[in-house]
Structure formats: structure tokens, C-alpha cells
């Protein structure tokens, strides 16, 4: 037996194995993420560009190379521009009031409250309700004839609102669902950031004789700037891909009779899996939306950089 007669050899072999372990194992440990990301994340995104240049459908698979014809088709439809308008309208109606409300809720929570955890958990309850379920509940609250809001309005002798027929009203209703689910979540993020503000700054402001309102506007809000930017950036990426809430706003799920609340992702779905079954055209929409999101991301980055160099309080952000 070589192992027993020549111990020096085994120990050297063990040393080689140990070196290999130290050298290679870290890569093995991180590889699951990279393998999965390339297979189900990066490759599909890039391949979308390839599909968008072809005739391609659910049943027959890859067809002829058609160049930019799919893009031409999509950019020539009314639906595309409606989807673009609706997506941005819903996004603005949900993100702006949401950030403002979240900061104020965080401000109320940022006091030496009794039963802190209870209140914090309370504002987080909507987060655990699936968007689909949220949308089904709010679709009934905002129903045109039998809805809660309209009947309350009529009870007060006010005119009922066409939550499904009017474009802006439907955007407001859908934005309300998004706000319902995410405001408390963002309030907790702002609360954590508020608690990280050094107390000396408040003390200095108090010595200077500033009141509560001025302290809020001139100390708290500026110190929250990096967190506000973080929340806005993350909600842009998700918000422009919105699908669940508008899809479930009525039973048909096509975004209304004149597509008044159809979003970009809904249009993508309809082209790919609807009556047209055109993966090529759906891919064109996906790729256009992808470029819009990347473009806004770059814009966000530039604005952030501008603000940072303009001399806000420097703080690292995740």
C-alpha cells in the first residue's frame, strides 16, 4: 500500500487538494448565482433582441428574418403609444404621492412611541397581500355602478366617477392599489434612514432655535435625500413593468374598451400570447421597454451624480 509506506506522498497530495480547495472552491460557491443568472436572466434578455428581428410565434416557432419590421409594426400602432402614456401616468400617480406619504408616515413613527413594533407591523400589513388580491378588492371598491366609492359619493349627492371608463380615473384607481401595497414598506425604509441621522444635527438646530416644521424641512428631508433617490430608482425599475394590478382591474384583462389603462407589459403579453401570437412583435415591445428603463436609469444616475457633487450630505447607499 503506497499510502502506508510512503506517507510523504499522501501528505503532498493532500496539500495539493487543500490548495485546490482554497483556489477553486470560492468560485464553486458563487457559481450557482452566475449560472442561473446567465440562463434565466441575461441570455433571455439578449435573445429577446434576436427574436424581435424575426417572424416568430408560439406554434410554428422561428420564422423568417424580417429586420426591423416588428419594430415598425409596433411603433405604428395606437396601442403602443397608449400603453406608453398609461404606464408613465400610472407610474407618476403612484410614485410621487407614495414617496411623500411614506416620508410623513416615517416622521410620525420616528417618535418615542409606545408599542413601536405594533405600529411598524401595522403599516406593513398591505405588503403581504398579493397585487392580484389587492387589485380584486380595489376593483370592487372602484366598481362603476356597484362600487363602494361611487355609492358613497352618490350618497353625498356628488356625481359618480367613471373609474373604468375614464382614462385618468382608472390610472388613479390603479395607482391607489400600488400605493396601498408599497407606502408602508417605503415608510419603514425612510424611518430607518431618519433614525440614522446623527442627533447632534438636531441639537444644533434646536440651539439655533428652529421649530419643528423647519427642522423637518431643513434637517430631516435633506438628510433623507440619498434614501429618496434609492427608493425612486428601485420603484422606477419595477413601476414601469407594472402588470398585475391593471391586468386584474376588470375581468377581461385587456386594459379597457379603448385600452385606457393598458400598460406596456400588458401590451407585450397581448402580442405574445393573445390572438396575434407574435413573439417577434412582443419581443420588440420588450426591447423598447428595456431601452426606456435603461435610459431612465442612466438619467437617474446622472441626476444623482449632479446632486451628490452639488454638495448634499454624503452617505453610502446600497
Amino acid at each position: 500500500m503506497t499510502t502506508t509506506t510512503r506517507p510523504s506522498r499522501t501528505s503532498s497530495r493532500r496539500a495539493v487538494l487543500a490548495r485546490l480547495d482554497v483556489r477553486l472552491t470560492p468560485y464553486v460557491f458563487i457559481s450557482p448565482f452566475f449560472v442561473l443568472f446567465f440562463l434565466v436572466g441575461l441570455f433571455p434578455i439578449l435573445y429577446t433582441a434576436w427574436v424581435s428581428l424575426h417572424e416568430w410565434d408560439l406554434i410554428r416557432g422561428q420564422g423568417e428574418f424580417v429586420g426591423l419590421a416588428n419594430f415598425q409594426f409596433v411603433l405604428g400602432t395606437d396601442s403602443f403609444y397608449k400603453a406608453l402614456r398609461n404606464t408613465f401616468s400610472i407610474f407618476l400617480l403612484s410614485s410621487v404621492p407614495q414617496v411623500i406619504a411614506a416620508i410623513f408616515i416615517a416622521y410620525i413613527l420616528d417618535a418615542n412611541l409606545r408599542a413601536k413594533t405594533f405600529w411598524r407591523m401595522g403599516v406593513l400589513v398591505p405588503f403581504i397581500v398579493a397585487p392580484v388580491a389587492v387589485s380584486m378588492i380595489f376593483a370592487k371598491i372602484f366598481a362603476d355602478q356597484s362600487g363602494l366609492v361611487n355609492n358613497l359619493l352618490m350618497g353625498m349627492d356628488l356625481p359618480a366617477i367613471g373609474w373604468h371608463s375614464d382614462a385618468l380615473a382608472s390610472h388613479f384607481a390603479i395607482a391607489t392599489m400600488v400605493n396601498f401595497r408599497w407606502t408602508g414598506y417605503n415608510a419603514l425604509i425612510f424611518l430607518a434612514a431618519m433614525q440614522a441621522i446623527p442627533r447632534e444635527i438636531y441639537e444644533a438646530a434646536i440651539i439655533d432655535g428652529t421649530g419643528r416644521m423647519r427642522r423637518f424641512w431643513h434637517v430631516t428631508v435633506p438628510m433623507l435625500r440619498p434614501t429618496i433617490i434609492f427608493v425612486v430608482i428601485t420603484s422606477t425599475i419595477g413601476g414601469l413593468q407594472i402588470f398585475d394590478e391593471p391586468r386584474m382591474f376588470d375581468t377581461a384583462g385587456s386594459g379597457g374598451a379603448s385600452r385606457q389603462w393598458m400598460t406596456m407589459t400588458m401590451y407585450l403579453y397581448e402580442l405574445g400570447w393573445g390572438p396575434q401570437v407574435s413573439f417577434g412583435r412582443a419581443s420588440a415591445v420588450a426591447w423598447l421597454l428595456f431601452m426606456i428603463i435603461i435610459g431612465i436609469g442612466i438619467l437617474n444616475y446622472l441626476i444623482t451624480k449632479r446632486i451628490a457633487t452639488a454638495g448634499g450630505p454624503a452617505k453610502t447607499e446600497r
Binding site: 480547495d21 483556489r23 470560492p26 460557491f29 450557482p32 448565482f33 452566475f34 442561473l36 440562463l39 434565466v40 436572466g41 441575461l42 441570455f43 433571455p44 434578455i45 435573445y47 429577446t48 410620525i108 420616528d110 417618535a111 418615542n112 413594533t117 405600529w119 407591523m121 401595522g122 400589513v125 398591505p126 403581504i128 397581500v129 398579493a130 397585487p131 392580484v132 388580491a133 380584486m136 378588492i137 371598491i141 356597484s146 362600487g147 358613497l152 396601498f180 419603514l188 425604509i189 425612510f190 441639537e203 421649530g211 419643528r212 434637517v219 430631516t220 430608482i233 425599475i237 413593468q241 375581468t251 384583462g253 407589459t265 405574445g272 420588450a286 426591447w287 428595456f290 447607499e317 446600497r318
Partner: protein, 302 residues
């Protein structure tokens, strides 16, 4: 109050008294809550809870009553249980949707915690070439809207025959960039090098070190990551809606079918909604404190 004591020393008694007065109310450290803090919070809490309560009100009613009174009575009626039973036993197989949702959520969450901790251990504690760049790459991927790759993903799933199969929903979620980043951040602080060295001295290879030292040390952050992933999986709709068919639906997809086939009976639709919310609500009552802590820790750490 300590901070006003300091002010008294530096700026005199009058300033301290004024400061004490100003410190009351919200905002800032040591702020004493006033009654309106509680009133406003009660209003916020009411808004958070109301839609769920409204769903329970409708779910405990019946179609006729709902049609007659668009504004429901303030107290639930007695039909909740019978409505729930009717939904679960309807031709939309709600019962297996519940089982499927639990299965998908548990498997993805466990897997994310395992693989994210593995990668987090390597990124935070092991030395290897390209570590910094690879970690930056992981963070950058969080900004990629991967949902837009659904078409090729569907083509791939059709090729391997996974259309309508739960595997198609589970596999893409087995490890996430957020999880890797989260565990890297956590283990960076929480796992002392001494422990790793001790394990190495005892002859552990890196995998054994991970099992004996890193995994136990990451229990707290791992629990939070589990909760986050669980909620994300439970509420996920877009991709399951595209890929799942027939028998193997998850709850949100089953809810969509319920809405389109029972659209006339709101008591049944809302019963389905209530059924889909209850399991997560129970989990939230048990572990919501950790979820709150996780969100707040994530906000400050980065």
C-alpha cells in the same frame, strides 16, 4: 432629557426650556409623541387594514345581499365558512393551488437562503481573484429588468417541456442577486475570521467550514431572507400566469381564474381572496417583527 441638559450647559436655562418645548412631538431623537401621533397612526393603520376587512365583509355575505347593498354592513355576516368551502371545492382547484403555492414558496426560499449564504460566505470571507468585480456584477444585475426576458424564457421552457410545470416557476427563482448581496453584507460583520480559522485548524475543508461555521452564524439574516423570498414567491403573478396551465396553478393564478369565471358572485371571489391572504397573514403575525427588522436593516446597512 439628556440633550436639553447639554443645551442648558452651553446656552443657558431659557434656551433649555425652549428646546424642551420644541422637542415634544414627532421628528428627531428623543422626541416625545403627542396624542396626534397616535391618532394619525391609527388612521394609517385603518387604511392599511380596511381593504382586507372589506374583503372579509363581502366574503361573509352572499351575492344577493351584495347586489342590493353596494355599501356592506359594518359587521361580517355568517356565510364566510360556507363560501370558503364552496370556493375550495369548486372546479377551479383551489386546494391544490394552496399546496402548490406552499411548495413553490418553501422550496425557493430554502434554496435562496442556502445558495445566497454560500455565495455570501465566499464574497465576504474568502480571497479569490476578481472578487470585487464579481460582487459589483451581482449588484448591477439587480437593476436589470429580467422580467422582460419572458419570451425567450418561455421558448426555453417549451423546449425542455416545462410549460405548465411548477419546475418552470421554481427553477428561475432558486437564487437571487438580492439574496447574495444581503448575505454578503451580513456575514461581513457577523462572522469573525477567528471562527473560520479555528474550523480550518480542525481540518475542515471550505465546504465543511461553511456548514459548521458560516451557516449557523447567518441564522438571523437567513430567516429574514427566507421571509422576503417567501412573500415574493407567494405574491408572484406575471411569470406563473404565463407558464402555468391546468392542474398546477399557484394561488394568484387561481384567483385570476376565479375572477373570470365567477365574476357575478363577489362573495365567492372575495372568499378566494381571503383564502389566499390568510396563510401569509398567519406567518406575518408570527414573524412580522423580523420582516420589519429586515426592511429597516437593509435600508441602513447598504
Amino acid at each position: 432629557m439628556q440633550s436639553t441638559a447639554a443645551i442648558e450647559q452651553f446656552a443657558g436655562k431659557g434656551a433649555a426650556r425652549a428646546a424642551r418645548r420644541r422637542l415634544k412631538g414627532g421628528g428627531g431623537v428623543d422626541a416625545r409623541p403627542r396624542w396626534w401621533n397616535y391618532v394619525l397612526l391609527a388612521v394609517v393603520l385603518g387604511i392599511s387594514i380596511f381593504p382586507l376587512y372589506y374583503a372579509i365583509l363581502l366574503a361573509s355575505s352572499d351575492a344577493g345581499t351584495i347586489a342590493r347593498n353596494p355599501i356592506p354592513s359594518v359587521l361580517p355576516q355568517g356565510n364566510l365558512l360556507s363560501n370558503v368551502i364552496e370556493v375550495i371545492t369548486s372546479d377551479i382547484d383551489f386546494w391544490s393551488a394552496i399546496v402548490n403555492s406552499v411548495l413553490v414558496a418553501v422550496v425557493t426560499s430554502l434554496s435562496v437562503v442556502f445558495f445566497a449564504t454560500l455565495a455570501g460566505f465566499a464574497f465576504s470571507k474568502l480571497r479569490f481573484r476578481g472578487r470585487k468585480w464579481l460582487l459589483l456584477f451581482v449588484i448591477a444585475t439587480m437593476a436589470v429588468p429580467v422580467q422582460l426576458g419572458v419570451i425567450p424564457l418561455f421558448i426555453i421552457m417549451a423546449k425542455v417541456g416545462w410549460v405548465g410545470d411548477l419546475k418552470a416557476v421554481i427553477v428561475p427563482g432558486l437564487v437571487t442577486a438580492f439574496g447574495v448581496f444581503w448575505m454578503t453584507q451580513y456575514l461581513d460583520d457577523a462572522l469573525p475570521y477567528e471562527l473560520i480559522e479555528a474550523a480550518r485548524m480542525d481540518g475542515c475543508n471550505l465546504l465543511q467550514t461553511y456548514g459548521h461555521v458560516a451557516l449557523p452564524a447567518s441564522r438571523g439574516a437567513g430567516a429574514m431572507l427566507f421571509l422576503f423570498t417567501f412573500v415574493g414567491s407567494w405574491t408572484n403573478f406575471f411569470w406563473p400566469f404565463i407558464i402555468l396551465r391546468g392542474e398546477s396553478l399557484t394561488l394568484p393564478v387561481a384567483l385570476q381564474q376565479l375572477q373570470s369565471s365567477y365574476f357575478k358572485d363577489y362573495s365567492l371571489i372575495m372568499s378566494g381572496v381571503v383564502v389566499s391572504v390568510i396563510p401569509l397573514l398567519l406567518l406575518f403575525i408570527l414573524a412580522g417583527r423580523q420582516l420589519v427588522g429586515g426592511i429597516m436593516a437593509g435600508a441602513v446597512k447598504g
